[in-house]
């Protein structure tokens, strides 16, 4: 982009003179309803235009990676889902997959299907909440309210399967914790119909809304040549024409047995990204229906690991990845042969989106568009600082 009218950057810091009266520095957050979660934006504006932005993270740092080194492998299993609150199942799956790969533990077929089901459901729930957030950040509280309510129906399903609304602790190393309850199919279909009705309404009220189009079209454009230098992943990259989707490229669980297309956009402005995510929601619903149709209903769902209190995993290291709603989510697990992991590194896709990319994209936008732009990148702070 043309930076000639913005302050010069020296050593990663923008050189602006606050005393000149041309610039105002504003802190958006951490106590600010406009930022997603608990993070802060240090914004410098000139008039209505953002001339510099710095993201401050670390408000949610709990030291997960350190804590995981202190705990047994099985003790980490309830810990990992806390890393990403709106979509915990990806973390559970990845941790389980990494441990299984290092220890050579087999996973029964049926457990893989159940895992895929919960993964898709959590993707759907997370997307619904994102849609509400995107609408809310542009002042469309109605869709925001509807979205959270509809997401709650999905959470009810999770409660029926796993007993937990937010944290499920369902996907354990070796399989899953339980099978589907009685009458789940009918409940699921019921909820999917509700979600579809909501999406139909949202399409009319939001995507066909002139004001929404006016606000989002042309806002925060990601060009294809930005994808690699900024490490952009997931729908943000796909809206710019990339076809990377971990579910398709290196299928995990049973994604290779499902039929779906990678959703690719063209413009990658905020509207196009919203559109892509909206289509991914529809795709999620279709995938859930597919899974329910061809999922095996009999067989083992859990391969018992050896006594988990003395479970020592042979030395090695691995990197496993899965597609979350924000993009590729990865776990890098190093084992040194003891009963505790040597190192667990969690790679959340928001890490690059919220810091390096957002700091770049925000420059030159209108101050009033910042919250909408931020939500349109779909970032969750907890996976940045962990």
């Amino acid at each position: 982009m043309d930076r000639s009218k913005f302050p010069e950057i020296v050593d990663g810091k923008s050189q602006y003179d606050l005393d000149s009266g041309r610039f105002v520095k504003i802190w958006n957050g951490p106590q600010h309803p406009g930022v997603t979660g608990n993070m802060a934006l240090e914004v410098v504006i000139s008039g209505d235009e953002v001339v510099d932005l710095k993201t401050h993270v670390g408000y949610l740092h709990r030291g997960f990676e350190k804590l995981m080194e202190q705990r047994l492998y099985i003790q980490n299993f309830p810990l990992v889902c806390r890393i990403c609150v709106p979509e915990p199942d990806t973390n559970e799956y990845l941790y389980a997959a990494a441990v299984e790969e290092l220890s050579g533990l087999e996973v029964p077929e049926r457990a893989q299907w159940l895992r895929t089901l919960t993964l898709e459901m959590s993707r759907l729930a997370s997307f619904i909440m994102w849609l509400g957030g995107q609408a809310g950040s542009f002042g469309m509280g109605t869709v925001g309210q509807w979205a959270v309510a509809v997401r709650d129906y999905v959470l009810d399903l999770f409660e029926a399967i796993t007993g937990g609304r937010i944290y499920h602790m369902y996907i354990t190393p070796g399989g899953v914790r339980d099978i589907l309850p009685e009458g789940f199919d009918a409940d699921l279909e019921d909820v999917l119909k509700k979600v579809e009705k909501f999406m139909h309404d949202a399409e009319i009220v939001l995507f066909h809304n002139a004001v929404f189009k006016k606000r989002t079209k042309g806002l925060g454009i990601i060009t294809p040549d930005m994808i690699d230098p900024y490490g952009i992943l997931g729908p943000n990259a796909r809206a710019a024409g990339s076809t990377r989707d971990v579910r398709k490229d290196s299928p995990y669980a049973v994604y290779d047995k499902l039929e779906f297309n990678v959703i690719v956009g063209s413009d990658s402005d905020a509207y196009d990204r919203a559109r892509c995510r909206f289509q991914e929601m529809q795709q999620s619903i279709e995938l859930i229906r597919q899974i329910m149709e061809i999922m095996p209903r009999k067989g083992s769902f859990y391969n018992r690991p050896p006594n988990v209190l003395h479970w020592q995993i042979p030395p090695g290291e691995t990197y496993v990845k899965a597609e979350s709603t924000r993009g590729e989510y990865g776990y890098y697990v190093v084992s040194d042969g003891s009963n505790k992991p040597r190192r667990v590194y969690v790679k959340g896709p928001s890490y690059t989106h919220a810091v390096a990319l957002f700091e770049q994209m925000a420059v030159g936008t209108n101050y009033a568009d910042l919250p909408g732009l931020m939500v349109s990148l779909h970032t969750y702070p907890p996976e940045i600082e962990r």
Binding site: V24, I26, H32, A135, G139, Q145, W146, V211, A368, D369
Partner: protein, 300 residues
């Protein structure tokens, strides 16, 4: 004696307007909640909020102008109301309409905002300052179609007195301004959308962007005063529009029905639209509404 009676009547009138304004606010919150799929707060919630705001024990100040902000705002709301005849032909509710005309009322609508701007600027919160800038710019924009509409009305009725304008509309429903001068009415209704600060024109108080806008720093009884003003000012604006465009009211029930119906316009638009940015809303007001206003003026 006359003055004492008059003052008493005025007091009653203000209290009624305040209660009605707050009740409308409560009902609107309830309706919006139902659209959201919620139960919503009780209708009397605005009253509790005001009591609670005044029940705050500690208070902070940012200088003299900080205190004056809500006072000016309240004076603006009060001033708007007392120079409008609330109920046509009623002794109690005619207020001070004999001594003020449309221009004075328009001045008072502006006055409150300016006072608020001064006070909020003193508060020192950058978000307030930004919001004040946006608010004044947007207000100037929607004031234009409104003013054009008022001028059109003045030429139509050949007077600036609100009482006379109401009197001229008493011949029946078809003599209301909305039917005799629809262009001016629509221009003014667009301006009302801006005045009521519902979406899409609520960028001034957008909580996602500049937390709450001008009143960010206000708390305690100052906030209570702002909330009280919100009741009176809503009543005043709605009654003004009812008088100018919808034939006024002959008694309180009609006033309630008509003002509520006018307010519902803002509410319906508000729940169905995201908000405009300040520059976009200014462009909007200077577009269709202004053209409507100019046309109304030309036709007259």
């Amino acid at each position: 004696m006359y003055i004492a009676t008059k003052a008493f009547y005025l007091f009653v009138s203000i209290i009624v307007a305040l209660v009605w304004g707050l009740t409308v606010n409560g009902i609107v919150r309830k309706i919006v909640a139902r659209v959201h799929g919620r139960i919503g707060p009780p209708v009397w919630q605005p009253f509790i909020d005001i009591i609670k705001s005044n029940a705050k024990r500690s208070m902070i100040a940012h200088g003299v102008m900080f205190y004056f902000g809500p006072v000016f705002r309240f004076a603006g709301g009060l001033g708007t109301y007392v120079f409008i005849p609330a109920v046509f032909g009623s002794v109690v509710f005619e207020n001070l309409s004999f001594s003020g005309d449309l221009l004075l009322v328009m001045y008072f609508i502006f006055f409150g905002q300016l006072g608020m701007a001064l006070g909020a600027g003193e508060g020192g919160h950058p978000a307030s300052a930004i919001a004040v800038g946006r608010g004044l710019a947007q207000m100037t924009a929607f004031e234009l179609p409104f003013a054009l509409s008022i001028i059109s009305l003045a030429t139509q009725y050949n007077t600036l007195s609100i009482t006379d304008i109401v009197a001229a509309q008493q011949a029946g429903v078809m003599s209301w301004t909305v039917f005799t001068n629809p262009l001016a009415t629509f221009a003014a209704l667009f301006a009302l959308l801006g005045m009521n600060m519902h979406s899409p024109f609520d960028i001034v108080i957008a909580p996602q962007e500049i937390p709450l806008g001008p009143p960010t720093e206000y708390q305690g009884s100052l906030l209570g005063m702002l909330h009280t003003n919100r009741g009176i000012f809503v009543s005043a604006k709605l009654i003004l529009f009812m008088n100018l465009y919808f034939g006024g009211a002959l008694n309180l029930p009609i006033l309630m029905v008509k003002t509520f119906a006018i307010y519902m316009l803002s509410v319906v638009v508000g729940v169905a639209f995201p908000r405009f940015r300040a520059d976009q809303s200014i462009r909007f007001f200077l577009g269709v509404p202004t053209v409507l206003g100019i046309l109304a003026l030309l036709i007259q």
